[in-house]
Symmetry: D2
């Protein structure tokens, strides 16, 4: 079988490296092009990138020449790990030039005709691409995945919402270093410390808005977002990978801790039938021990693609509470984009 050729935008960054890792030995896709800043363009990738992963850089890619981030890449679609500021224009250029763009950048997530997709939750949002194509003009389009703190949260929320209806969500995050990219957080800032308010409030703003779009629906010409309140307080901790979130929820209908756990354990989705290579089964792992999930012990479960949820208990203030953990650069970024690409391929939007 001929593999679909993927290009990676922002290939030298933290997310770009993870994209290379998750595409290694992929059954459908192969890395055909690596694009990065003009500073890196022209160099062999092994030289341009400061490779940081324990998994070694595949030798074939070490020798691949890095391209600039401009249309003309020899590939069937692109995965974008670009910084948001740069993604704004570059991704649209690629879409206009006819490329499907599967992006991890935040820039276009909340645009009125750009799908913000977590396949297990809102695969149907991909239909918005039709409207987007009309706007942009051409065959290309942009599909996005949520912020790394949102993915781990919104999958359990979707399960609970489906069963009991969400009325309010309160979340406090303890996020890993890799979420800030490289060089990212200075060691002098985080050693023996915790840093509140990631991104000057922008991280919290994403957590408070993106789930409302994801849990909403595409009406055929616009997104009908949900409207319940979400409160997010964010923190950076001295952990390499894995975002831990302490979550409390208020539900519309009566429930019990056991019933809420059951809704998490029983969570299934339309995409189960699609057999996507990167889809974890189940998508949600429920831990019975109160001292779990922990970043180090749970982030790599199901290849870093599962969301682990701790036991559910009553919250004296809001109703129910539990912790969620997901790998921020796998399930929360590179793996999320790849899963979106797999969905698009299966549904005929790529390839």
């Amino acid at each position: 079988m001929t593999r679909i050729r993927a290009g990676i935008l922002g290939a030298t960054g933290t997310v770009g490296q993870r994209l290379i890792q998750v595409l290694d030995d992929h059954p459908w896709f192969e890395v055909a092009a690596l694009a990065a800043s003009d500073h890196s363009a022209g160099k062999p990738y092994g030289e341009a990138a400061h490779w940081q992963l324990e998994a070694p850089l595949p030798e074939r890619l070490a020798g691949l020449r890095v391209d600039a981030c401009r249309p003309g890449l020899d590939c069937d679609f692109v995965l974008s790990g670009l910084p948001s500021a740069i993604a704004a224009e570059v991704e649209i250029e690629f879409a206009r030039a006819g490329y499907p763009v599967v992006s991890n950048a935040s820039t276009h997530r909340m645009d009125g005709d750009v799908p913000l997709i977590v396949p297990e939750v809102n695969a149907a949002h991909v239909e918005a691409v039709e409207a987007q194509r009309r706007r942009i003009g051409g065959r290309g389009f942009v599909v996005t995945n949520p912020n790394c703190s949102v993915i781990g949260l919104v999958i359990p929320l979707a399960a609970i919402d489906r069963a009991f209806g969400l009325e309010a969500v309160h979340v406090v995050t303890m996020q890993a270093l890799s979420g800030a990219g490289y060089p990212g957080v200075a060691s002098l800032d985080i050693n023996d410390n915790v840093l509140p308010d990631i991104g000057g409030g922008e991280e919290a703003a994403k957590i408070e808005s993106e789930p409302l779009k994801i849990l909403g629906r595409w009406t055929g010409d616009r997104f009908d977002d949900r409207a319940f309140p979400i409160s997010a307080m964010t923190h950076r901790v001295d952990v390499r990978d894995g975002h831990l979130e302490a979550c409390s929820v208020t539900l519309k209908t009566p429930a019990s801790p056991d019933a809420v756990e059951e809704s998490l354990r029983g969570f299934t989705s339309d995409i189960d039938a699609l057999d996507l290579p990167s889809a974890p089964r189940p998508a949600i792992l429920v831990e019975g021990r109160a001292d779990r999930p922990q970043p180090r012990l749970d982030r790599d479960r199901s290849g870093g693609m599962a969301v682990t949820v701790g036991p559910v208990s009553r919250c004296p203030v809001l109703g129910f509470r539990f912790r969620v953990l997901s790998h921020n650069t796998l399930r929360g970024a590179a793996g999320a984009a790849l899963l979106n690409a797999e969905l698009l391929y299966r549904r005929g939007w790529i390839g």
Copy 2:
């Protein structure tokens, strides 16, 4: 001036060491006796203790012989840094034998006639000592300070409660290693990790109950506790000292973020007039930057005795939110006990 002679129970532990540190050069008190487990008794303190503080062990105390934790200590009162299981009996023995016992242990905190005191908040609770003396029979008594996560929380809550009335409190903690004592948390557990649910739920239970006693009142024959709901989710992070807590509150009367901050900035207390040597002035420091407080940068302010609160903002779910930070073994343990001892001395209960 003759100094009041203090004995330290549990002198070799983490809290015991901090007690020695805060009593060094104290204007009123001097360390006269160091007591610890039978295993340590008889040895010079410098040999019995695995000294862990950057501040050097005062030479005079290094040579002091450690006593067993039994009445007979040659001192005017005792400060107890005993583990709770041991404190249960030992502290009562000392009280019966006539010693004022100023304890950091959790055992007797919620007892019906034992004051649980934060001087800035509920100094009047000390009156319960009369009832306690009648029960125990004798001149001695036990006075306690709250759990290390409670102190940093309850001082700002008291300020806000006074101004607007508390209706509900939701708190998520990120707590330091020293809170677990020594050897405490294994490095293999916390390196590159966060540990949820400290103490198998006991830490959260203390946070959900102790503030209700502290913010309540002593009626003359019993404590009349407050009854609003508190939700606490606890976590251990790889930080040496300083508990950070993300807090949301619902208030009874309308307020604004500025007004809530004003209530914190303007917080004063009856004990300001007593001029206690360890009392921070002000008790609450309000930080204007959203990325503060941070454990490393803020834990040592005012000698580790101040509580630092970050900017107050609206919480979409509960009303208002902010972060608090306090030094868990100074303001949260040794300093707390010492401040209680100073209060008792000024009021004539010690010495």
Copy 3:
């Protein structure tokens, strides 16, 4: 094919857990018995052990009943991850009872008829087992692997010694937390710190003596150890796994940095022909970059069984210098014991 049945002594400890991990899906061996302290005996393993590895505990073993560490285990040989104090008697008991004992404990390493084996270096030492059997009386025997800091050092030393002759070795170690077992190093001791002199000098003593036995030869009735001086200074650093060692050597014959590197790159051994499942090929990886090896990036190479050596340069004082890194609980403990077991099986001493 019927698998050889392995028993694990000290199965709940840090090394025991790694033994379970490396035996998972082993082509020749299967875990048939798990033995630990009397405190654990009788419980299902999943309950008795505080499982600390990212790799999940195989479900079959979670339910296996833990045995006491006494002969009678239903298995063909035992792998021992026992603490040295306990290993002293227990391992000899098992050997007397007829079990081949493949041990990671230090107790018997320097005994006059106990092989201390690194298969790539001194597989021939296994012949000492004959003499040992005569002494103990019976079919069983004890074979040991070196200290975790010695293995990573002695393989490169063997390569260099073979080519140029060693005259003196100076090594300074920076060792990982897992080397101290669990709970091991207290987080309060190592956070923001380095701890010199591991084990009160015992670690250094092993590094200064064990290589002399390994690089020596078995004469048929005794070990003829080498006699060059080794100086070791040891340190614990805040790293989970992977011992890094800064090494300087004086050689007998003239050499150049390139020639020394060549001796490392060209290192082969008799066991290459045996095709042992856990043997890394090559045994030594030479890194060209001066900022390598690094614990996090290099410890897991070749399944954690390779030794990574950085570039060789001239040492102004001793001749040549370089750094070595190996995974202390894989190559340095569990993997080392397993590799010895594989050697023994291939040579007919087990099974």
Copy 4:
């Protein structure tokens, strides 16, 4: 008494902040000017600097306007914490303009007429300033202090050299994060890791050369450096402050561990009589416990200005071995420069 007015070049950096800290409440000097990059110039210091120290920024300085690094600063001398590349020209400009420049930068350290001073060791080198003034033309001059890893090493070496004569020195360093400045080391690089070969070999090169100049003598028209070999291997560890070094030495005359320790304990210097405010007394602290010195426990001794040396033992390869520890941004940088300034003031070269 009128205080001498100090200007700080590179005031916003890691060393600059420490300079401000050590000058706070100084009996002779006061901070009169703060200079930094053009980017910072014109802003109030509190805004221009990302203050990282636990000790709060003195309020008076928070409001001081930052100047550009050009002659014209209103002060009696300057302390330079400039990066080396910038120091090259700027410091000479200031010297030409008549300012005494007391520099921590590496640029001019090895220049033929620039004193590289550790007051306890080679205060007499300051005489080279006369020659330097002739070359530069004018009243100003540059005096430097050594690299942060050299200071902690060279003071004990001086003591030993004086008693027994040094023939060779071998050192392996474990250096703190603050030595790399800010933002410096990325947390993703150092978390759960050790980084070899600081500065691409430049750090080692300084350690191998600077002590030879410091331990040499000024002949009246040139420096007569020592010539024994020094070998240095450098490493960065996840520690905030405090460089730990494992050191072995070969001596010219016979000695014993006790005698070597005695030479360290008995170390005195000409400057003891000068009563310099920042001079630690004694300059060398000798620890009896083999597990000391440790960065966290020993870096702040004598206000961070003492060098702590562990017990001396025999090195089987080189003769004797021991560990040294010093605070890299106090004794190793800001405090070193300040002590040089105090020496210059006392000797009449400043003020």
